[in-house]
Symmetry: C2
Subunit: 206 residues, 2 copies
């Protein structure tokens, strides 16, 4: 009987392993490459991928027409965070180490009015045109100790394709503005992202 | 021996089933309830859940100030689609049966200028305030044969919480406007969603 029980166990393990392999396969969309913060040996960051399927948190818009033609970012700023870090923020109210925030810039569609707006079936307003750049911030308290634990990277402010790698931006280029938020919101602009901001998400039917 | 093999198979199946249950457990974020199109027996649709973690496709904005104070939707329109149907669209260029598009309305933050804009560190512009309503469209060619295969539902145009169920909106309320797009874009406004529109997504580093 011991021999048969041995056989039984071998069969059991094989079936179990087979089932485990089958059920643990990534779904088709998980299988698409998605990357957060990946650094080359020289310290340059690799262009994140898959970010348009991360969790969207907000889309600030500062048109050139409202900024004397000199907006730093005259496009929609579509902001995304990886699901695991979004979930962590929802639980703890702060971003964990390794969090990547992606801000993709999206041009306004062919404006027809001086304020940059256009006429559409739903009314006069602002609508997303072509992708036009990508900025990224990464929380890594050791690597970016000099800028309150966040590093800033620009993969181009232009049409696709973006740069494949980026060196850390200077304090003047990025961190300088974010430092104004260090005490209240940990170098981020969560005050503009309703799903992260304040307490209202606790009542949201997510 | 036959008896022992029988025992072996029972053990094997039990272990296999256990492994399958273990490995098919949803991840913590999948475990959060997420629903697409769920209808009650009376035909009312249930409020979708989990949609803020679906794939974001665009955020049109038609402020009241640019529409003589009478915009139909004076808020940001954050539009989301379920990942599986987003993936299907990317492959086939059309939405499969069962697709749900969620449009969540988000108020502008405390405007400080007549055009509804405010001053922020990144410039003068529009920033997302409080959630203020939810409209949903569902593709179901049989159920909504009278409106080109899409049904439209409004779960409230007001602050949270939204209604838990909604009856199909009248053609005058919703479908009437979308019918203008039936030939080109299957009743949707994908022309305003860069990640779905045209061919540029083929070159995007997603």
């Amino acid at each position: 009987m011991r021999r048969y029980l041995g056989t039984a166990l071998v069969i059991a393990v094989l079936i179990g392993a087979g089932a485990a392999m089958f059920y643990s396969r990534p779904s088709p969309s998980q299988a698409q490459q998605s990357s957060g913060a990946v650094f080359n040996p020289d310290g340059k960051m690799k262009l994140p991928t898959g970010y348009r399927e991360w969790v969207f948190v907000g889309a600030p818009l500062t048109p050139n027409a409202l900024n004397s033609g000199k907006a730093s970012f005259p496009e929609f700023h579509n902001v995304y965070v990886e699901r695991k870090n979004f979930d962590a923020y929802q639980k703890a109210g702060k971003f964990p180490e390794g969090t990547v925030l992606v801000k993709e810039l999206v041009l306004l569609q062919k404006p027809t009015f001086p304020d940059g707006s256009q006429q559409a079936p739903s009314g006069r307003g602002y609508f997303e045109g072509d992708f036009n750049g990508m900025d990224v911030s990464v929380k890594d308290s050791k690597r970016f100790a000099g800028t309150n634990g966040w590093g800033y990277f620009t993969f181009g402010h232009h049409a696709l394709p973006y740069e494949q790698t980026a060196a850390e931006s200077s304090i003047e280029e990025c961190a300088g503005c974010h430092i104004g938020n260090v005490a209240k919101t940990d170098m981020t602009y969560v005050q503009f992202y309703p799903v992260l901001r304040g307490s209202q998400q606790t009542t949201a039917k997510r």
